[in-house]
């Protein structure tokens, strides 16, 4: 059954913005699918609202739409493009749900679009809990006892029968959103109420507890000829009870005999056949009772999933690519295994190493959220590590996490051990290590954690060795012991800490003793066949398989695990760096440890090192490869922290000198540079003590912005309105030192903030975009919507910004990319921050301008000049690039995952992802962006307005526009009075602490469709927080700035005025090309 020739044009739906539970693994899968289909001669039409993805690069599809993933907009795309087929299985749950919606609304039928990958019946059977349970029973697979309930009473009745704890899973939500474990009646009622609310169909599955059971996943593929293979088995270190996305997971499964594994394999294949997944990949999850061996099936996803991405990286078997090929008719045995070249893809990969995935959490960004892990996924990213043994993989993985604390220096409390072992938290593994250090036995830890003793034994072996090592010294350690430590995965840095020396001393000693890292290949076949893809990981084995070439080569340091403030945007830049190098005929070497990304696909770069981004590992690769240059400016903060140490060791960093990158972070040097250039900045100072901080703040005047140096994403950044807040911050919130002082700036209230991205070869400077933020200064730039082109700036202000940017780029000898943040207050332009490196906005600006910024930046770093790239920049080598339409970028927040957290925006970044809206006017683009961000603006209904005194005049104007659009107004007393005084009809509603019904009651009752709520600037009061929380819970857009409110009014007006229309990036930039 070869390729189908009856279909030509295929629509791929992406997964939208990065959110918890759905991250860049779907950029990876969508990118692979698009590449595979186009390589086969199919035309690909792609839609995804997320501009930071590789998949939305215009080169990857024939038509690329960065448009809302909503039925109306995708229908318009289908109407315009007339695809023959829709591939539903590579865009995560979002892509699958939207495909179902399009099918059920009859849109696919209307335009003759065939659903390929998974059929609608199969999707429903897999996704609908009851249908799934019945289907599994029919094929002899057990599921945990369960009942689907639509109200709290029915849930309580079920729990009376089966007993507590029980598991709650709302239907059709991402990453288990709204789910949980209830240990008693009260918890059950609370979680159930929330889950019913969050489920789009208001259904929750209540389930018998299989807490503590062993948890497994199998990645299965099936073709139209019914050939089935298991790509990978995965065993969870954390047993049932912790969401798989929040579990440490291990491939291959470690504790199953062949009999048990085959029982599971048979079950998984039966499941796929029964559900009716005709082609493609699925993952099937099982639990096994460690006492009796009873096995239950938990769920299956009839699509490419997060685990598929992990399995692909863990084995070298590209699931999404193969799934795309199967969907267009190929059989598994007709597809070649890229790695061995000789053998077909119809086989089961076998591996001779162990892979560990560890999630990364950021509870510190969400004060008030309980850091406990359960059935709802809360991690924001993950790392994967490959080792020859589990121990080596686990220890490598732990140091890939970049927790900010040196591994082994965590502060742990002896008295908390049993509590922390019983209740899973992000710290559990550290507490397990700590328990062993304190003499706990494997059996004791197993009793408390239910973690399989095999895993615990492995951890204990390393902990025991760590104990022995600490009694030695760098001068006296023997070759054997050192080799053992390295084979166990212990880092030089950790050894150095134990021996009171620095990691380079350990490195020297290690090399002197002949203990060196070698590299092994990921080859899908445990060395049975030769591999042709240099996909490598380090180990301390006897032979090195790196086999470096003697070509000219450049190494790119990636951005590590996704986290808030450093996500897919940087992976986008790294991938482009790699593509650009290959275009230049230079070998590209990628180093990264994030399994979700496109950069860790084995065919993105010439060579891939799946390694932690630490000095030790990067030096090992450097020593082996001897690259001609290393790129550090594309991967965010992670590689930048390595830049100076690497440069000191003679590693050739290309592009902007790391010293100049560092200079921009050094307040004193940078302040002097600004003075010399005559570029104004808000008054500022630095402090290394509480008293000094108060003195500096007092001198420059409140409010002040206080933050630590060297962070990304506004980590631990606050606006302090008085001395008490400064004191509290210095005491509690931040660590500082002589090297790393606290930075204090005058905070410019009500200023307009501007982001600028520019390209520079240090002679010419080309400004790629001047982005105007929609929220005022004070909201982190990553959390603010912004628009290209700027809307309210005067030509004179734009000129000033251009002038400053050019002066800064030249002064810092920027070669490559630079980002500058400005604020405009009372007409005056101030520089807030300069980052001579790739920024979060690079992909957005690239897509809006149609100019591939990272590609040009790489050329500049290789020594070429901007004028050599004039064919890519529309002939421009200076000035500012133009954009042919309005492009709005909006952030997406994870607040619905963190009950109890105040969703107010501030200087600390908390968004996980972003979307882009395209329009002929600002309102249209903003409306699309808000829709894509999951906070669609209402077209009618009631607007709730409550603003502080100095916003009242502006609020009246905005309210007038909403009233003119036919909206009802409700306001709190003071605001209502202002509205009424201006002749607007407004109802009055109580504040939360004034009585009932209050604003929260109205939100709950669905009587409010839009909330405009500005704070007084002081710390959040209970009232404000309650309103913002309720708005998040009940999915009412809540706007907390006046500029945001005006934008919302523009958007609603546009929505009323303009038709539903869509533009592909190719179309937008063709128009531009003809205009130039």
């Amino acid at each position: 059954m070869p390729r189908r020739n009856d279909i030509h044009r295929i629509l791929i739906i992406g997964s939208g913005p990065i959110v918890i539970g759905q991250a860049c693994e779907f950029d990876y899968s969508g990118t692979q699918a698009a590449k595979a289909l186009r390589a086969d001669g199919f035309e690909v039409v792609l839609v995804n609202s997320n501009p930071a993805t590789i998949m939305t690069d215009p080169e990857l599809a024939d038509r690329t739409y960065v448009e809302p993933l909503s039925r109306r907009y995708v229908e318009e795309i289908i109407r315009k493009e007339r695809p023959d087929a829709l591939l539903s299985t590579v865009g995560g749950q979002t892509g699958l749900n939207l495909s179902v919606e399009l099918a059920e609304a009859g849109i696919l039928e209307k335009y003759g679009v065939e659903l390929i990958g998974a059929k609608i019946e199969a999707i429903k059977k897999a996704e609908d809990r009851l249908l799934f349970k019945d289907a599994m029973r029919a094929i002899g697979l057990e599921t945990p006892q369960s009942r689907l309930v639509k109200n709290v009473a029915a849930g309580l009745e079920f729990a009376e029968q089966t007993g507590y704890p029980c598991i709650l899973r709302p239907s059709f939500t991402l990453g288990g959103t709204g789910g949980g474990i209830a240990y008693n009646r009260e918890e059950l009622a609370e979680i159930l109420e929330r889950g019913l609310d969050l489920s789009p169909v208001h259904e929750v599955l209540i389930e018998e507890s299989v807490l503590g059971w062993k948890e497994f996943e199998l990645e299965v593929m099936r073709d139209l000829a019914d050939n089935c293979i298991i790509v990978c088995s995965i065993e969870n270190f954390d047993p049932m009870g912790v969401h798989t996305g929040d579990s440490i997971t291990v491939a291959p499964a470690q504790t199953l005999t062949d009999r048990e594994y085959q029982m599971m394999r048979d079950g998984a294949i039966r499941c796929l056949r029964e559900i009716g997944v005709d082609t493609g990949g699925s993952n099937v999850q099982f639990a096994i009772d460690p006492g009796s061996g009873r096995m239950v099936i938990i769920e299956m996803n009839p699509r490419v999933s997060r685990s598929s991405a992990l399995a692909s990286k863990a084995t070298g078997f590209p699931i999404a690519k193969i799934a795309a090929k199967l969907a267009v008719g190929y059989r598994l045995d007709e597809i070649r295994n890229d790695i061995t070249r000789k053998t077909p893809a119809c086989f089961e990969p076998t591996i001779d190493y162990v892979v560990a995935k560890i999630p990364k959490w950021q509870f510190e960004k969400f004060p008030g959220a309980e850091a406990a892990l359960g059935t709802q996924m809360k991690s924001v990213g993950e790392v994967m590590a490959i080792g020859r043994t589990f121990k080596q993989a686990l220890w490598k993985g732990m140091r890939s996490l970049e927790t900010g604390k040196a591994f082994g220096s965590e502060k742990l409390e002896k008295s908390l051990i049993s509590q922390r072992l019983i209740t899973p938290t992000p710290d559990r593994l550290n507490y397990i290590r700590f328990a062993f250090q304190n003499g706990y036995s494997v059996e004791q830890v197993r009793e408390l954690t239910s973690i399989d003793p095999w895993f615990l034994e492995q951890v204990k072996e390393v902990v025991d060795l760590e104990g022995e090592l600490n009694r030695l010294a760098v001068e006296t350690v023997s070759r054997e012991v050192l080799a053992q430590a390295k084979r166990y995965g212990i880092s030089d840095a950790q050894l150095a800490r134990g021996w009171n020396t620095d990691e380079l001393a350990v490195r020297e000693r290690r090399k002197a003793l002949g203990v060196r890292a070698v590299f092994n290949r990921v080859d899908t076949c445990a060395a049975e066949f030769e591999s042709f893809t240099p996909y490598l990981y380090s180990s301390y084995e006897s032979a090195c398989e790196a086999d470096p070439s003697d070509r000219k080569k450049v190494m790119i340091l990636g951005s590590g695990p996704n986290r808030i403030g450093q996500g897919i945007e940087f992976d986008y830049c790294c991938c482009h760096a790699s593509f650009a190098l290959q275009d230049e005929g230079i070998e590209s070497i990628m180093v990264n440890c994030n399994p979700e990304t496109v950069s860790t696909d084995y065919d993105t770069s010439d060579r891939l090192y799946f390694e932690p981004l630490t000095l030790e590992h990067v030096l090992n690769i450097y020593d082996t490869e001897k690259p001609d240059g290393v790129i550090v400016q594309f991967g965010g903060q992670t590689p930048l922290t390595l830049a100076l140490p690497l440069e000191r060791l003679g590693v050739p960093i290309i592009g902007t000198d790391p010293k100049n990158i560092d200079l921009a972070e050094d307040r004193k040097l940078f302040g002097k540079l600004l003075d010399d250039l005559g570029v104004p900045a808000p008054e500022n100072g630095t402090a290394t003590s509480v008293e000094e901080a108060c003195a500096v703040a007092g001198r420059i005047g409140y409010p002040v912005l206080v933050r630590p140096s060297y962070v990304l994403g506004g980590r631990a950044m606050v606006i302090a309105y008085d001395e008490e807040m400064v004191r509290q911050y210095m005491r509690e919130a931040v660590t500082f030192s002589q090297d790393r002082p606290v930075l204090i700036d005058r905070f410019l209230e009500d200023a307009t903030e501007i982001d600028v991205d520019a390209l520079s070869d240090s002679e010419d400077v080309l400004i790629a975009g001047i982005m105007e933020h929609i929220e005022e200064a004070g909201v982190h730039s990553g959390d603010s919507s912004c628009v290209l082109p700027a809307k309210t700036l005067t030509p004179q202000q734009l000129g000033t910004i251009e002038d400053y940017t050019v002066r800064l780029a030249k002064a810092l000898h920027v070669i490559g990319l630079m980002n500058v943040q400005y604020a405009i207050r009372n007409g005056k332009v101030y520089v807030l921050e300069v980052n001579p490196r790739a920024s979060r906005t690079v992909p957005y600006v690239s897509k809006a301008t149609g100019v591939p910024l990272p590609k040009i930046a790489v050329g500049l770093m290789l020594g070429r000049k901007l004028r050599e790239f004039s064919s890519l920049t529309g002939g421009r080598t200076d000035g500012v690039l133009t954009v042919p339409q309005d492009f709005v970028k909006s952030p997406v927040f994870p607040f619905n995952k963190f009950p109890g957290v105040d969703p107010a925006l501030g200087p600390e970044m908390r968004s996980t992802g972003e979307v882009m809206g395209v329009g002929e006017n600002f309102g249209e683009a903003f409306a699309k962006a808000q829709l894509s961000a999951g906070t669609p603006l209402p077209e009618k209904g009631t607007v709730f307005v409550s603003v502080n005194d100095h916003h009242k005049a502006e609020a009246v104007e905005v309210a007038r526009r909403f009233a003119a659009l036919g909206f009802q107004l409700v306001a709190t007393r003071g605001t209502a009075a202002a509205l009424q005084a201006a002749g607007l009809h407004s109802k009055t509603v109580f504040k939360v602490n004034e009585g009932r019904p209050n604003a929260v009651d109205l939100l709950k009752a669905g009587a409010i469709q839009l909330a405009i709520y500005t704070t007084t600037g002081a710390p959040a009061f209970f009232d404000e927080k309650a309103i913002r929380r309720s708005a998040v819970m009940y999915r009412v857009p809540c706007i907390t700035t006046m500029s945001g409110a005006r934008a919302a009014a523009d958007a609603v007006e546009a929505r009323r005025r303009d038709p539903i229309r869509v533009w592909s990036l190719q179309q937008i930039h063709e128009q531009k090309q003809t205009a130039v």
Binding site: R259, D333, T343, C346, I351, D352, R388, F390, W454, S542
Partner: protein, 375 residues
């Protein structure tokens, strides 16, 4: 921590940690790439005369259990692994894997760079070797390795075969309350199985398919087999080179056309020789649980379990007499054929799995159908 050495005939010597019996054993050094099923590998008589490298780096994790043995004792000569678990974790385990081998004086070398060793064998072909936990003079070990007999030309099948005829009626037992294996039907057919090193799961699978099995020694004469009034004859797997097995081949030749015949692995090779074909030694064999085999009759791909160092040369077969039914998609080697005129078929791989995927269980039913047709 005591050392162990694995010395190869080409002079390569690997040092590791002795983790098993303080013993020295020799044999052909081969590697198996399966991720599960080390106990089945230890106890598969086809590994007689071989030192086995397991490419899965974590071995011993789940211990051993009597139900998972493929014979009454382990047959491997020695075991080479990257890491051997000091503890056992599985609800079915009643003995740790190290003791399981130690009881039979089988040495284990662990902490070994198995990947480097496998790459060496992949490039150079399998070779003779000595695994020693008692001798540390590398030169002596290499000398010993050069003195042991080569696998080619070796009749190991007769050596591991049963000496007495016995009957077998145990079906497949479930490994978990959640494994639903239908009860074995009342036996309708009598199968006589030649034991060239037969795996228990073949016998269990035959019972499961509705057979009563009589197992006979490898050198049982064809006439004596027919005397037992079988409905079908089964030719088992086994170790060593098929070519010296002239008696067995001539017995099988006499049985073709008399009764339905089904052969697995060595049984397949013997049938290949019996119909006039040739066998040859593979460079490094097929040992694993992930080989794709296409069934030319159904065009379906099966993921199959393999353990063989020799193969039947498809070019040596008279295609007017036999039809090729199964081919390995990795290297196009012959994996199965059937006779065009007689009820005879065979496969090179292991449909009984143990260890490995269950994709090919249907072949036991095919055998039963063949016997049904003959009645």
């Amino acid at each position: 921590m005591s050392s162990a050495f694995l010395a190869l005939e080409d002079g390569t010597v690997f040092q590791g940690r002795s983790f098993g019996a303080p013993a020295e054993r020799s044999g052909e050094v081969v590697f198996n790439t399966a991720l599960t099923g080390y106990q089945e590998v230890f106890t598969d008589p086809s590994y007689a005369g071989q030192i086995v490298i397991l490419t899965n780096p974590q071995i011993g994790n789940y211990g051993t259990t009597p139900e998972d043995s493929e014979a009454t004792r382990p047959y491997i000569e020695g075991l080479a692994v990257r890491e051997f678990s000091p503890i056992t974790s599985n609800w079915r385990s009643d003995e740790d894997a190290r003791r399981f081998l130690a009881k039979h004086d089988i040495p284990i070398i662990s902490e070994l760079d198995t990947r480097a060793l496998v790459r060496h064998l992949r490039a150079q072909g399998v070779m003779r070797g000595v695994l020693s936990a008692i001798e540390s003079d590398a030169r002596k070990l290499v000398e010993k390795a050069r003195r042991i007999p080569r696998m080619a030309g070796l009749d190991l099948a007769s050596r591991v075969s049963t000496t007495a005829t016995y009957s077998w009626n145990e079906p497949v037992e479930a490994c978990s309350p959640s494994e639903h294996i239908p009860p074995a039907p009342e036996p309708r057919f009598h199968v006589v199985a030649y034991d060239f090193g037969i795996k228990h799961n073949i016998l269990r699978r035959l019972v499961q398919a509705g057979c009563r099995v009589t197992v006979v020694p490898a050198l049982t004469a064809a006439e004596d087999v027919l005397e037992l009034a079988p409905d079908g004859i089964f030719l088992s797997n086994g170790p060593g080179d098929p070519e010296p097995l002239e008696t067995q081949v001539s017995n099988v030749r006499k049985l073709i056309g008399k009764k339905p015949v089904f052969g697995i692995c060595l049984g397949h090779q013997i049938l290949g020789l019996a119909v006039g074909g040739r066998t040859y030694k593979l460079k490094f064999g097929h040992r694993g649980a992930n080989h794709p085999v296409i069934n030319r009759l159904t065009e379906r791909v099966e993921i199959t379990s393999h353990n063989h160092g020799f193969a039947v040369d498809p070019d040596s077969l008279n295609l007017n007499e036999v039809e090729i039914t199964h081919v390995n998609l990795n290297d196009q080697t012959l994996e199965g054929f059937r006779h065009r005129h007689h009820p005879v078929f065979c496969v090179q791989y292991h449909p009984e799995a143990a260890p490995g995927p269950h994709d090919s269980h249907y072949l036991f039913d095919d055998f039963v159908k063949l016997m049904e047709n003959e009645q």
